[in-house]
């Protein structure tokens, strides 16, 4: 509850800042970006993040399921290690590498964001599935559930809250990282922020940065709701949420 109040306050300040700056005519000698510029950049930003997250999720979750299969467990360590290494590279470097590889444009930005957003989802999905009590899986096997039935009816529902938390964390991070997309020819709120950086105008920087932060908070909030909604009731009781 406290946390929500703080978040809503911050959100209000961020939106207020954005509205105020956008309503200014000029900052120094620079024109501020118009409402239509701001909205189209925000839309492009959101689109990029969502595409990257959908792709990252559809790679990370099946990958996590794969490396938790009994026969394939030895793949888990190298895969998680690989993803960890990906995460330790500076986001700027990952994005910068993409341009020479894939050329300037949206595709480079999205690929870079995917790589960067993959790890939290992969790590959470792996932990979520791997931490299920072995006795639960064994009971399922012992009652004659097939491997597929166990994955669908037991492992996924039990791991879902943890997987969703991974997607949430990844999304929030990616909203920030997506600011850099503009460097490799992508669009988004980074365009405004970097204009401000080049112009050395803090308010102009804020015109891009404040709505980006607001977007991260809003997406995080929505995904947290979804996460709670998707948590099976039997588990909510255990965690004492109910």
């Amino acid at each position: 509850m406290r946390r929500q109040v703080v978040l809503i306050t911050i959100l209000a300040i961020l939106i207020g800042l954005t509205v105020w700056i956008t309503s200014l005519d000029k900052i120094g000698i620079y024109d501020v970006f118009s409402w239509s510029d701001l909205l189209s950049d925000a839309r492009a930003h959101l689109k990029m993040v969502l595409i990257a997250e959908v792709i990252a999720t559809s790679i990370a979750v099946p990958l996590a399921i794969l490396v938790t299969r009994p026969g394939l467990k030895r793949l888990a360590t190298p895969v998680i290690f690989g993803a960890n290494v990906g995460q330790t590279l500076p986001s700027l470097a990952v994005i910068a590498i993409m341009a020479p590889l894939l050329g300037f444009g949206l595709q480079s930005a999205i690929v870079a964001l995917c790589i960067y957003g993959l790890l939290p989802i992969l790590r959470n999905s792996y932990a979520g599935i791997n931490n299920i009590e072995p006795a639960i899986i064994e009971a399922g096997r012992g009652m004659g559930m097939t491997i597929g039935q166990i994955a669908r009816k037991i492992e996924l529902p039990l791991a879902l809250p943890v997987i969703m938390a991974g997607i949430r964390i990844s999304t929030v991070i990616t909203v920030g990282t997506a600011e850099l997309a503009v460097l490799v020819g992508g669009k988004g709120l980074g365009r405004i922020t970097f204009t401000g950086v080049l112009a050395r105008q803090p308010l102009l920087i804020l015109q891009g940065a404040a709505p980006t932060a607001a977007m991260a908070i809003i997406l995080g909030f929505i995904l947290e709701r979804i996460e709670k909604w998707m948590t099976p009731r039997g588990l909510q009781l255990k965690a004492g949420i109910s």
Binding site: E133, A135, I136, I137, E138, A139, G140, R141, G142, M143, G144, M145, T146, Q149, I154, P157, L158, P232, R233, G234, L235, L237, K238
Partner: protein, 371 residues
């Protein structure tokens, strides 16, 4: 029903968990796998539904080699209750119990009806508990649900690994007693794992005592107690075997199932001749439906013409599941050295004599003397 033929299990790390175990469990029998921790009980149980693949040997169910049966199909017909229970936390109690019926494609209303029936069977109010989640149950309640879930699709075979292990002693005794009652109703072939000698004697028709992966003695509880095969068995069952026997051995193990009988309208002389021939001092008298009426005793033969005239009706009876100490105390209080064993509708199932108990106990004493 279930037959293990020289079954050996060596784990990938080289542990010889089960070593050439051969075992046959008859239909409707409850076979207890007993032994110290790590002796291979759990492994022996889990090779039956192929949760653990065996290294050597064969396992047959109703004469069919289990490796010839699809493993999921095999498991859906074998109830499975493991030590850790393993209830599905995201499913309600009702849904947990319906897992196997659902897998077998039972219609929905039949499934939920079955779940309600099973909850009641294990002593839980179905209206109250059907929609509860495992996290809302006590340890004992979870164990009960685990047993109910194993019984879900009414499988002919039940595998149970220390099903009453992780609960307090008082609840455990209650669950054991309740399970014995349930067992009489459901009549299944059961493999029951425990490390507790008391539980084994109490629950088992037969006990397979294991040590270090080998089967040491496969016998009835009374033979295990009173005729231990070697020193290991003797030590495992403990020094107070006679006392354990009295407390735990059930009457049906020592009773004579087909005793000589008498009818109420028979002439005393005929009956007297029968007693001479059989070498007994008294005969149980039954009616035409086999219901127990009383005793005719050798000391009273001069006192009447027909059995009806001299029958002694004022004697206590016990059920086949009573333990020896109960039977003994009935004998002592009635002053009658033979006890009629009857079922729920007073039908005679057998007789138990004081001598039979004494004989069993004296074997313990003799063994002690010869050590």
């Amino acid at each position: 029903m279930i037959r293990l033929d020289q079954v050996t299990k060596i784990y990938p790390d080289g542990t010889e968990a089960v070593n050439e175990v051969s075992l046959e469990v008859g239909e409707g029998e409850l076979c207890v796998l007993l032994g110290p921790s790590g002796c291979g009980k759990t492994t022996t149980m889990k090779v039956i539904n192929r949760i653990i693949p065996i290294t050597k040997g064969k396992i047959y169910i109703d004469g069919t080699d289990t490796t010839k049966i699809d493993e999921d199909e095999l498991r859906r017909n074998i109830g499975y209750a493991i030590q850790e229970i393993g209830l599905f936390p995201h499913m309600t109690v009702g849904q947990n119990i319906q897992v196997v019926p659902a897998l077998k494609g039972w219609p929905k209303d039949k499934r939920s009806e079955r779940a309600e029936e099973l909850l009641e069977l294990v002593g839980m109010n179905s209206a109250e508990f059907m929609n509860k989640y495992p996290s809302e149950l006590s340890g004992g309640q979870r164990q009960r649900v685990g047993v109910a879930r194993a019984l879900g699709a009414d499988p002919p075979i039940l595998l149970m690994d220390e099903p009453f292990g992780a609960i307090d002693p008082i609840t455990r005794v209650r669950l054991q007693d309740e399970f014995l009652k349930i067992e009489q109703e459901i009549k299944k072939t059961i493999i029951f794992v425990t490390h507790d000698i008391y539980e084994a004697i109490k629950m088992g028709d037969k006990i397979a005592l294991m040590n270090e992966g080998r089967l040491v003695q496969y016998d009835t509880p009374s033979n295990l107690l009173f005729k231990p095969k070697n020193e290991f068995v003797e030590q495992f069952v403990g020094a107070d075997r006679a006392l354990k026997g009295l407390q735990l051995i059930r009457v049906k193990e020592l009773m004579t199932g087909t005793p000589p009988l008498a009818k109420a309208d028979e002439r005393v002389v005929t009956v007297q001749a029968r007693m001479e021939r059989e070498g007994v001092d008294c005969l149980a008298v039954v009616d035409n439906e086999g219901k127990f009426l009383g005793w005719v005793d050798r000391v009273n033969v001069g006192k009447g013409e027909t059995v009806r005239d001299i029958i002694n009706r004022s004697v206590a009876t016990a059920t086949a599941n009573a333990v020896l100490s109960e039977a003994l105390s009935l004998m002592l209080s009635s002053g009658f050295k033979t006890l009629a064993i009857v079922d729920g509708i007073n039908k005679l199932e057998g007789v138990l004599s004081f001598d039979a108990i004494q004989l069993a106990l004296s074997e313990v004493a003799q063994r002690r003397g010869s050590e």
